[in-house]
Assembly symmetry: C2
Homo-oligomer: 466 residues x 2
């Protein structure tokens, strides 16, 4: 492990010592729960790599795949002007998170010579205005589309594929297939069938890797590589974080401690988890986290207990002007996780000026770097002073290695917390009803009963409407 | 009122009749609270336009200003390649929301001839990487900067001004001042002093219009006009919504009914308000709402009661794959507000194909428009079936007129709800501590005691860190 680049989990402000005994944890209380944490630890580690935890082995078992991806990415970077991910949920959030974190913040606006690769789009919605807007600004003849869905049954993604493939065939005839790469299951599902028949290049999502745990498999690695991101370093970061997360001592294991604190917070009714990076580059990491945390832990247990924190994304310092009033004075129902950056990749001095106006001139001579750090510390301080639970993840720098660590950390935290809650963190039974209803509304065969149910719903007779 | 373009508030799925008596409201229960709602109504309407509710009159009292803005905007559109808002909080969220809703979804990527105006940026953070990224892609010599802060004491915005003005002076000398427009208080504060002395054009934020209620004053109107948005129609929409929100019957007054329902939900412990538009164009309306709702209602009352729902932004259908699992099966702690669009501004057919794979081919022949609507209805149905409180705001179309209605609706809902909660919806005392701490950390004169307090905080001795 590169210790200078090790990310750290700081939970001082979860403790009574920092934020007061009303809300904070006492040492004794925490230590008394270590057995519970260790039980979860053993359960997760005992089963690692099995069933739906195959994602835990991704840092180690992709040597060949990585070489293939790097070669393909190199070709795409040379040949295409646009790289478009067609995917939704985990198939979109990971690629967006890594792309935002590890490329220029206005990557698409840079000249080609600075970008050195294609423009990058992730189309994770089916809003017709959005599809039209994309087609207004790209030339499909110069675009590579990466269709990502494990089952090939994701309606949104497959609808996009139908639209795009039709367009490509009209423009390019037989060459159309050279513009699509499928990332999907190796054997099961529709997309692999289509890919084989049409001759799309395909990458495989390993068995036991669900959408929200898929960033470190080809789902995330190919888009990242196309953006010139060092995917080996991402995987190395994940591997090194894994080492920390395999430690058997709770207070030496960052993901296990973070999971335990989350678990205890949920038990105390803190049902909101705010993820607040102080860096625009980490904005979509917060989005990615929101899916991971929300879908994995938001579960009904035996149709009786309903668990799960609602994840909320915020951005420092921006949302200090939008949410901190609420976090400081509103209900004691949340935990804030700050993500802080030790050293930003740019340094911007604030020019001196307006010396007769002290409210303004005191800023001159500092850098934006100093200002953003001061505001972060001040916000942490103010929340803590108000007795509000908060913790901090520190990234010494934002790079492929630390992002690999960070994502793996959150995944392990989620796995451990799921085990503590005694739930299946890897399914999403709650979305089935909506899927079936969509099929019914679109008149799909076999969903006639559901359609009748929908037609009979009370709110169909809209009464309460102004 | 253009009734065909009237937005509607549908609360069928807040009622027991739709979602079951466990969670839903019964008619009787709701009606028994009408007196409470009417009391809030009277309080708000009695004071309308006074004190911090001057925003209520914005639809009516800006005739001259609007003409001036339109003229200025026309000149900016002709002369500049970039229009950059420097602002944070309400000074940024309104302009972003209107811009995203009412221009092409990839406006900045269109050719100039299609855009017909400058590229548009809203810089609402002080991340040094973000400032550098902006300066990498714009040419300040061809840029107009709109600095927005009422007091001129907003550190983030004033730091940006110092940086940009210094740069402009280096590049353009005396002409620099022609590249800055200040939007600020007419008399008080630092920015008006600076504007007068340096010779910046200035627009005024009227007394009694706070940041989060400022979109319909020059804060929002100038950026919107520069983007070619019909600001008169926005104001007309607000005026027409105001008419509905002045109705004395609770069940005829959309904002009053929405406020009452929110209030009752809070009383029942529903402490999360999810805002979920089914349109990429409305994505930043959700962000804007989050500030409005969070900062206005997240309050401590007499240091004893802590109120306020945490607003959460979600995007349909995208976040069906990220959050709906949690919303369906997690704790009964939230209310979901869908925003739906009757008619999108584009129509995208889904091509037929893969006829031998029914999982995919059933989509062919539909449009994305039909698919997104079916998914929205299905999601509403699935949530309702699971007994989850939800309501819907319907926009017949997204245009300046309906967006004006929508924003004014949310503002009035917030005002009424604040009155029901008996709180001041217009202050933000909770952020003062953080501001003072920032000043202390930056060594500003007069904050020496605060600095000592910061140095003595327990978490300075970081102990709990992994």
């Amino acid at each position: 492990m590169d210790t200078k680049l090790k990310i750290r989990f700081d939970y001082n402000n979860m403790m009574a010592r920092s934020i007061g005994k009303e809300e904070g944890f006492k040492d004794k209380e925490l230590i008394s729960c270590y057995p519970l944490a260790l039980k979860a630890f053993e359960e997760v580690q005992k089963n690692r790599g099995k069933g739906m935890t195959a994602w835990m082995e991704l840092p180690y078992n992709q040597g060949e795949i990585v070489e293939d991806i790097l070669l393909t990415a190199q070709q795409i970077r040379a040949k295409f002007n646009y790289f478009v991910v067609l995917g939704i949920g985990g198939s979109a959030l990971g690629p967006m998170a890594a792309g935002q974190a590890l490329t220029h913040l206005r990557y698409n606006e840079l000249r080609r010579s600075k970008r050195k690769g294609p423009k990058f789009y992730v189309e994770d919605n089916i809003d017709p205005e959005r599809m039209k807007a994309l087609l207004d600004v790209i030339d499909v003849k110069k675009a590579m589309f990466n269709v990502i869905t494990k089952s090939g049954a994701t309606s949104e993604t497959m609808a996009q594929l139908l639209i795009i493939y039709d367009l490509l065939k009209k423009e390019l005839g037989d060459e159309a297939k050279e513009h699509i790469i499928a990332t999907t299951d190796r054997e099961k599902g529709n997309l692999i069938k289509i890919a084989k028949r049409e001759g799309f290049k395909a990458y495989y999502i390993p068995d036991g890797v669900g959408g929200r745990f898929s960033e470190l498999c080809p789902v995330g690695l190919l888009p990242a590589a196309v953006l010139g991101i060092d995917i080996k370093q991402m995987l190395q970061g994940a591997a090194d974080m894994d080492e920390l997360c395999r430690r058997q001592e709770v207070d030496k294991n960052p993901a296990l401690m973070a999971a335990l604190l989350s678990y205890l917070c949920m038990k105390k009714g803190k049902n909101i988890s705010v993820m607040m990076p102080y860096a625009d580059s980490l904005k979509y990491i917060a989005d990615w986290y929101c899916q991971l945390w929300g879908e994995s832990l938001g579960k009904s247990v035996d149709n009786e207990v309903n668990v799960g924190q609602t994840p909320v994304k915020a951005l420092g310092v921006t949302d200090q002007h939008s949410q901190i009033q609420l976090y400081t004075e509103g209900p004691y129902d949340k935990v804030v996780t700050f993500i802080t950056v030790g050293k930003y990749r740019a340094r911007v001095p604030i020019a001196r000026g307006f010396e007769d106006i002290p409210d303004v001139s005191f800023l001159g001579g500092y850098t934006l770097n100093e200002l953003i750090q001061a505001e972060r510390v001040a916000t942490e301080y103010a929340l803590s002073k108000a007795g509000r639970l908060n913790n901090t993840i520190l990234l010494p720098k934002v790079n492929a290695y630390t992002i690999g660590q960070l994502m793996y950390f959150f995944e392990m935290q989620t796995a451990y917390c799921g085990a503590m809650l005694n739930i299946n963190a890897y399914n999403q039974p709650g979305v089935e009803e909506g899927k079936k209803a969509t099929y019914a509304l679109l008149g799909r065969k076999g969903y006639e009963d559901k359609k009748r149910e929908l037609d009979a719903r009370p709110s169909k007779k809209r009464k309460y409407i102004i």
